[in-house]
């Protein structure tokens, strides 16, 4: 019986071997143990000795072929043995396997947005989830703003003084097609007031009051002055709001967020300013019984970070109005003597839900705002 010559495994972790050289050719007489061929492996070349004696026949792998281990690659026929093709002489030459195409899943925008910027302990996350409290509504008091369980406990859904809520995009204004009223506010007096206040604030080591804080106060006062405007559409009818709660789209937060300043009409400027800038929870003990913050009629859109004069803002429920402004512009206006005088003009656009506030009422309210802004001491009188 002829002796089978196989491609032997000569190393651990070897699945195939490449024929590097044949020391004998087909038809050669080979002795047992004589070098027959070389295999190239990862490490080096290994000489393979002849497993028997006889004439080399049916060589089925040539130099360079990569052959799986255990494959028959030739036969040795003893002297006088009939040289007939034995069975299995077909060599499978392995094709180098294509490298697997590993797809790296790209992160969906939703995922990356979720993980961004919000620090919370596992316990806080779990408790918030159980109570259906969005963590973005909870103020973290830990290092780097980390939300702990205590923060979640302190959070009273629907009753906190200041809520920061993700405002990815304002929800479509399903209320009605808004009507728009635009006017220019001359804010020099307001700026002058701001300068005076801040001179004192800075001297006493406090944070500066922003222009926006003053505008919130002005709007809140205007809402108090004209209560019919401080109303919302509750799905079936107009309902006056319980309290004066003003929303602000906070432009300086990492992402658009809405601060709600509850009872802005009775709060001092400092308090308003702090709540807008630093949305921490009030101490439990001095948390007053606050109106439902969904009960709010106005959202202010502060776009002063952008080079926009004003926009027609969308109205997002539950609000019935949106007041938008961009950057103030210097403008020459005639003074009493008819001479051009430089003034600072802030153009504002009021969007009104006509079911609650029609154009006339809107304009009337805007007039009140203008009056507050241009005679700013009224703002302070509360």
């Amino acid at each position: 019986m002829p002796v089978e010559v196989i491609l032997p495994k000569v190393d651990m972790d070897m699945a195939t071997g490449t024929i590097a050289e044949w020391h004998k050719a087909e038809g050669d007489l080979v002795a047992l143990g004589e070098p027959l061929f070389d295999i190239e492996t990862d490490k080096s070349t290994m000489e393979v000795e002849s497993p028997g004696a006889g004439t080399l026949q049916f060589v089925a792998a040539k130099v360079g072929d990569e052959v799986p281990i255990g494959q028959t690659i030739a036969w040795l026929f003893a002297e006088g043995e009939a040289v007939e093709a034995p069975g299995n002489t077909v060599v499978e030459i392995t094709q180098p396997e294509p490298k697997p195409n590993i797809e790296v899943p790209s992160h969906s925008p939703a995922e990356s947005r979720d993980g961004e910027g919000l620090r919370a302990t596992p316990l806080a996350r779990r408790v918030a989830k159980e109570r259906a409290v969005p963590l973005s509504d909870v103020s973290g008091t830990g290092p780097r703003g980390r939300i702990t369980r205590a923060d979640v406990d302190a959070h009273k859904p629907m009753s906190s003084a200041t809520q920061h809520r993700k405002a990815d995009t304002p929800e479509p204004n399903t209320v009605a097609a808004p009507v728009y009223v635009q006017t220019d506010l001359k804010i020099d007096a307001l700026l002058s007031l701001q300068t005076q206040i801040n001179a004192a604030e800075i001297a006493s080591g406090r944070a500066e009051i922003r222009l926006t804080d003053l505008l919130i106060k002005a709007c809140a006062r205007a809402l108090t002055a004209l209560p019919r405007v401080n109303a919302i559409w509750d799905g079936a009818r107009v309902r006056e709001c319980d309290g004066v709660n003003v929303s602000l789209l906070v432009p300086w937060a990492d992402e658009n967020a809405i601060a709600v300043v509850a009872d802005a009409h009775i709060k001092g400027l400092r308090k308003v300013s702090t709540e807008v800038a630093n949305p921490t929870q009030p101490e439990k003990t001095d948390a007053p019984a606050l109106p439902d913050p969904t009960d709010r009629s106005l959202m202010i859109w502060d776009l002063s970070a952008f080079e926009a004069k004003t926009i027609n803002a969308a109205i997002t429920p539950p609000h019935s109005m949106a007041l938008a402004f961009g950057q103030a512009q210097p403008q020459f206006l005639p003074d009493e003597a008819g001479q051009p005088k430089l003034a600072t003009i802030l153009t504002v656009t009021l969007s009104c839900d006509p079911r609650v506030v029609d154009a006339a009422l809107g304009a009337q309210w805007l007039q009140k705002v203008k009056s507050m802004v241009e005679n700013p001491f009224e703002i302070l009188v509360t």
């Binding site: 196989i6 032997p8 495994k9 000569v10 190393d11 651990m12 699945a15 490490k43 080096s44 290994m46 000489e47 799986p68 281990i69 255990g70």
Partner: protein, 336 residues
Amino acid sequence: MIEPNVQNTPFVLANFSHDQLKEALRKMFLIRKFEEGAEDCYTRGLIHGTMHLSIGQEASAVGSCMALTDADQITSTHRGHGHCVAKGAEAARMFAEFFGKETGYCKGRGGSMHIADVEKGNLGANGIVAGGIPIAVGAALSAKRLKTGKVVVCFFGDGANNEGAFHEALNMASIWKLPVVFVCENNKYGMSTSIERSTSVANIADRASGYSMPGVTVDGNDFNAVTQAVAKAVDRARAGDGPSLVENITYRWRGHSKSDRNRYRTKEEIADWVARDPIVQFTDFLKEHDVLDQAGVDAIEASVNQEIADAIEFAKASPDPKVTDVSRDVYTGAVL
């Protein structure tokens, strides 16, 4: 028990029956053919890992176990297939182990390098050079302390004689007079490094004097010489006279492992040793002394061939271990 080698009767003929000697030859064939079969399976990719073949060393393995009972114990080495067979293991369960099967001696967890047959007193091959030597001394301590009358044969290679464990263990065996026989199978190379380049003494048996025990060097391919030397040492141990060191000079025909590129020895040297085949020598010896004739030899060889073929079939047909059992037998009871 030992009959002195007077009247020019070779030791093994004076001390063992013909049946025992035929069985010894059968074991030598079984080792040779087991390893050739394993090598063939390995080159065909049926066995993974690597293996260390002892082809050419069969007289050392079988001769060293001739004086042992089933109750006596051995510790073995990474080149341990021969010791395993010599101590009475079955080829089928050995092949099953090589194939990684649940029916293997180690249930597929050990493979070639940790093959053991505890029931027959083989405490296991060892993947660490000299790892088994202190363990053999510990087993001998148990034998002495528990008064079991057991003797332990500790196989190790020439490479182990330069390990600290060798020296520490021989010293303790000597000071405590333990029933252990240290059998060094000196096949001249620790992997690729020759004993001349690695060892400060001419004979490894010379180390014995440093530990106050007898040391003898014999032709490890001469079954009679090996058997005589180890049997004498076993008798001494069993009598409570302490350990001995026997050095069997032998040769592995194959490389250190299956990855050996044979760059450190010549083909002529290998051929010289192949010409001193211990199986051929022992066969001639038995024929010369009319223990058996060629027909008897052929019959043994044929039966061994059949045993190997059956063993490989058994191994192939055996079940694989369950992957879920991967952590079984780490501890004796359920732990984690």
